[in-house]
């Protein structure tokens, strides 16, 4: 194997990585969601979603509806949560005259613009998500917290990513196999 062949192989691998990244970012652009495809990690929405199911999100609607299944983020918690919207309240925030403290990290909301407040619950959980929210938070905000609404569903296919992230041996076995196959591959 000469140097030219190895360089071409390296280029091919870079192409694959780049096109995957482009596909992901393009999808994010089309759906308006920062992470348009998610894998279910917990059983809190069973029997609708099990661990390892793949969900496709859409985030271009101004409001979400009661009954919609949404993915949301909680401040200072890393893992996004997939639960169902149980209540919505459309609220027009008052104009605040009080000066905001510089330490407050809360986002500033435009006065007079309708904001949608949401309460969520996992189908398989006995109570709503209040204990999951940040300290002092009583509702989710459509604009600030929602990553997207679940539109499409493929069962089980995402279990590979759970294996990779949670099982070290599987991760190294897969990496080793990939490396081996690129070394052995010939044009």
């Amino acid at each position: 194997m000469n140097l030219r062949q190895q360089l071409i192989q390296g280029l091919n691998i870079a192409m694959v990585v780049c096109s995957a990244f482009m596909f992901w970012k393009g999808l994010a652009l089309v759906t308006g969601s920062s992470s348009p495809i998610v894998v279910v990690l917990s059983g809190s929405m069973e029997p609708a979603f099990q661990r390892g199911d793949i969900l496709f999100l859409w985030n271009r609607n101004q409001y979400v509806d009661v009954g919609d299944i949404v993915v949301y983020n909680i401040k200072e918690k890393e893992i996004p949560i997939v639960h169902r919207v149980m209540r919505e309240h459309k609220v027009i925030p008052e104009v605040k005259t009080k000066k905001r403290s510089a330490r407050s990290k809360k986002p500033v909301h435009e006065p007079g613009k309708v904001r949608q407040l949401l309460l969520t619950k996992g189908d398989n959980n006995p109570t709503d998500d209040l204990p999951l929210y940040a300290y002092g938070q009583t509702y989710l905000d459509r604009e600030d917290d929602i990553v997207g609404k679940v539109m499409g569903y493929i069962p089980k296919l995402g279990y590979v990513t759970i294996l990779i992230t949670e099982n070290v041996y599987f991760k190294y076995a897969l990496l080793g196999l990939l490396g081996l196959s690129t070394l052995l591959q010939k044009e």
Binding site: A48, V66, H89, K90, P155
Partner: protein, 189 residues
């Protein structure tokens, strides 16, 4: 080694292509069947709704700093047949009873869920409930929402085995006025 690897690649790509086409066919044919059944115009009869408003003082019922928070519970009769929502691609149907009402001018629209049920079998899809009690105690974003007029509706969400999720509602609604707080002196007016 070399040919075995190639063979494995060939077979797996064939399997993946076949799986994509089969799931596409399953999903599309199930939507066609649902539309042929006119699944968006199923009736529901909601009747004999009795609502109770109470004051709650704990965080689990929406109260903050021990301030009283109005909570509402209902009991209702429901007759609906949603077995037309079930076919070969239906994993479950999530049915839920919602109430829509207006608040103060600064809170133009509210919608809350009083009751829900997960149905996984077609045999369980004929709902004939008497004096069914709401699944949750519901509070509003404001402290008080008594004397508001709400419209109750039965809605559903179809969860498929593969494909797109579908949402819709049954025809028929019930107008409800949230009552005064139970046991309060002003309730007699």
């Amino acid at each position: 080694m070399f040919s075995a690897l190639q063979r494995f690649q060939g077979i797996s790509s064939n399997v993946i292509t076949a799986a994509i086409w089969i799931s596409l066919f399953v999903a599309l044919s199930s939507y066609a069947q649902l539309y042929l059944n006119e699944f968006r115009s199923l009736p529901a009869v909601i009747d004999h709704v009795k609502a109770v408003t109470t004051l709650k003082y704990s965080r689990g019922f929406g109260s903050r700093n021990r301030e009283p928070k109005e909570n509402s519970r209902i009991a209702f009769d429901l007759t609906a047949d949603i077995s037309d929502l079930f076919n070969w691609n239906t994993k479950q149907v999530f049915v839920y009873l919602t109430a829509e009402y207006e608040g103060q001018p600064s809170i133009p629209a509210n919608k809350v869920t009083f009751w829900n049920k997960i149905i996984t079998k077609k045999e369980d899809a004929v709902l004939n409930l008497q004096k069914e009690r709401s699944s949750f105690s519901v509070w509003d974003v404001e402290d008080s929402f008594r004397q508001r007029n709400a419209s109750l509706k039965l809605e559903w969400n179809i969860q498929p085995h593969v494909g797109l999720l579908l949402w819709g509602e049954n025809k028929g609604s019930y107008e409800l006025t949230f009552p005064e707080v139970k046991g309060s002196s002003s309730a007699s007016t």
